[in-house]
Subunit: 334 residues, 2 copies
C-alpha cells in the first residue's frame, strides 16, 4: 500500500517536492478517529516518545527525591537545540543527583540549533555531551538510575535497569511488544523499538488523559504534560516548531517531534492521541502535517484559527529574504 | 503514477525511511537507455544544471577575456561549501572583471559546510555573499555581463541579458521550453524553470559528448567538464559527495547535485546523460541513487567496483561514532 501525500513543497506555482506518510488519531479506548495510510507498519518513534520514556523518572520517585523542577522535567522530554540554557539545565539535573556531565553516555555533538552552534564556536568552545539534543533525557536517565540506587554506568544499554524500566513503560502505555528483532540504536545510543503508529497513537491518547493508567502513572503523565506546557522552550528551543506551537497551544496540546519524520501528540480535552510518520523521514513535512491534523481536530476560535496559518504551512525564503515557496500540509489532512 | 523507491534508510535490521523518485538515462540522440518512474513530469533542476548555465560564460568569450582559470570555471559550476578557498576564488573572478563582492546579488548565508561556518564564527566574522554556495556561479554571471558590455546590476532578473543568455542555453541544450508558467525563483534569486527529467538527461548527454552542439558549444562543454574533473574541490567542498566522487571518477563522469533531491550527470565515454529527482527533495537519497546508477552503467575494474561501496550507500553513525544504520540505493537501481 502506498501512503498518501501528507505535505507538499511549492516553488512559484509549481509543486516541487512531495512527502508521503501515514497518520492516525485514536482515543484511549483504542477507537480509530482517523487513519491515513499504513498505520500497522512498525516505525521507530525515535525522540517522539521521550514523554513516555520519562514516565519511570517520575513514577519511581526519583524526580521528587532530587527535587526536579517542571523546567527540568520538560528538559527530560526534550530534543533541545543545545542552547546554553539547555546545557546548564541538564548539568543542574545531574548535580542534583550528585553527578557531573562526564557520566552522560549520549555522545557530544555541536548544538542542533545553528545559532547556538555558532555562538559556541565564536566563544572558542567545543561542544560537550550537555549540548547533545538528548542531554536532558539522559540527565533524567542518570537521575532515574541513582533514584533506583543503581550505578548509572552503562545506562544506555538494553539490559540496564534504566532501559528495562523505559521499555516496560513503553510496552505498557502503547500495548505493543518491543522486541529485539525490531530494535535499533538511536542517535544518542539508547535502544529504539519499531512499533505500529497505531500503538503510538493509543499510548499518547492514554498519556493525554491518564485513561487506562493506574493513578501513579496518570499523575506522572499529567505532571509531564503540565511541565512541558509551562516550559515550551525547554523541550525544543528558539524558533523551533514544538516550542512555538506549545507556547500558543501547550495547555491544550502536547506534541513531540522525533527524528526521521515522526510526530506524536495528545489532545487531552478530546481524549485523542496522534502519531504520524513521513515515509522519507522529513521533519519539515511532519511538522506541517501535525499542524494541519491538530487544526482539523481542535475546536478553535478566530484567534486560534489564525495562529494555525503558521503551523499548517511554512514560508520558504531565499537568501535575499524573498518568499519563493511554501511547505504546506496536503489537502487530505485539512 | 507512483514513483518507485530509489533509496532506503535502515536502522538495526529495519528499513526506517524510504525515498521515492524518478530517474532516466539517455543518449545524445534522445534514445532512452533506462527509465524509472515518471520522467515526463516537470521538475526544477535547481543547481544541477549549473554546468549548462555556465556555457554562455565560455561561449561569449568572457571567460577568456578575463583569463578565468580551470579552477575558476569549476567554481562557476559549483554549489560550494563556502570554505575560505571558495570565497577567495569567487572574489578573484570578480576582480578579474574589475568588480568587487558588493555586486553579487545572490544574498549572504552562513557557509553550507558546517565546519566552514563554525570556523567563520570562531574568527568573529559574519558571512558575505562570497560564502553563498552559488557565489562562483554569480561571479561567472558578473563576468558574463561585463564580457557582454552590459551593466551587471539586476543580472539575476529574468529580463537581464545574462538570464536571457542562460535561458537560451538551457532551452537549446535540453530541447525543452523554459516557460514563465513553470518558473520559480531559486535560493540565489535567479529564475529556475521546471522541465521534464527526460529533457535534462538529453541535455547532459549532449553536454558530455558535444553531440548535437555546434563546435563552439561543444568546446565550452568540454572545457567545463575538464575544469571540474581537474578541480573537484571547487565544485562542492571538503567531504562532499560530488567532490569525493569526481576526485575518483571525474575523468569519466561529470555529476552535479541540485537542491530538493535533483542530480544530473554525464558519462562521456558511453555518451549517456543522467537525470534524477527524489520526490521528497532529499539529497541524501539522490546521492546514493546517483552512485548506484553510475555503478550499473560504467565499466569498472575491481578497484573501481570497490570504490563504489562508498557511493551507492553511506553509513549512519550515532554521536558515539557507532554505526546504527545505512542510507542505501534501492535494489531496483542495481
Amino acid at each position: 500500500m502506498d501512503n498518501p501525500v501528507l505535505a507538499e513543497v511549492t516553488r512559484g506555482g509549481v509543486v516541487e517536492s512531495r512527502h508521503r506518510g501515514a497518520a492516525i488519531v485514536m482515543d484511549a479506548d483504542g477507537a480509530v478517529v482517523l487513519a491515513l495510510g499504513d498505520v500497522e507498519r512498525p516505525v521507530f518513534p525515535r525522540s517522539a516518545v521521550k514523554a513516555l520514556q520519562a514516565l519511570p523518572l517520575l513514577e519511581s520517585g526519583a524526580a521528587d527525591r532530587y527535587g526536579l523542577t517542571p523546567a527540568e522535567i520538560a528538559l527530560a522530554v526534550a530534543s533541545h537545540s543545545g542552547e546554553e540554557a539547555h546545557a546548564q539545565a541538564a548539568l543542574g539535573m545531574l548535580r542534583k543527583a550528585g553527578r557531573e556531565a562526564g557520566c552522560l553516555e549520549c555522545g557530544a555533538h555541536w548544538p542542533m540549533g545553528e545559532v547556538a552552534a555558532r555562538a559556541l564556536a565564536k566563544a572558542g568552545r567545543e561542544p560537550t555531551a550537555l549540548n547533545n539534543n538528548c542531554s536532558g533525557k539522559h540527565a533524567g536517565f542518570v537521575c532515574l538510575s541513582c533514584g533506583l540506587d543503581e550505578d548509572p554506568t552503562g545506562y544506555v544499554k538494553p539490559g540496564h535497569a534504566v532501559q528495562r524500566a523505559v521499555r516496560e513503560a513503553l510496552e505498557e502505555t502503547t500495548g505493543a511488544a518491543h522486541t529485539s528483532e525490531l530494535s535499533g540504536t538511536d542517535g544518542c545510543s539508547i535502544p529504539t523499538y519499531a512499533v505500529p503508529l497505531k500503538a503510538l497513537a493509543l499510548g499518547f491518547a492514554r498519556f493525554g488523559t491518564g485513561h487506562g493508567f493506574g493513578p501513579q502513572r496518570a499523575d506522572a503523565a499529567r505532571r509531564i504534560r503540565e511541565a512541558v506546557a509551562a516550559n515550551p522552550f525547554m523541550v525544543a528551543g528558539t524558533g523551533r516548531f514544538d516550542t512555538r506551537f506549545m507556547e500558543r497551544f501547550g495547555a491544550r496540546a502536547f506534541i513531540k517531534t522525533g527524528a526521521e519524520g515522526v510526530y506524536c501528540g495528545a489532545l487531552p480535552e478530546l481524549g485523542y492521541g496522534i502519531a504520524l510518520k513521513c515515509d522519507d523521514g522529513a521533519g519539515r513535512a511532519a511538522e506541517v502535517a501535525m499542524g494541519a491534523l491538530i487544526e482539523r481536530l481542535l475546536p478553535l476560535d478566530e484567534d486560534g484559527k489564525a495562529a494555525f496559518a503558521g503551523f499548517r504551512e511554512s514560508v520558504l525564503k531565499n537568501w535575499n529574504g524573498i518568499e519563493v515557496g511554501r511547505i504546506r500540509a496536503a489537502a487530505n489532512l485539512a
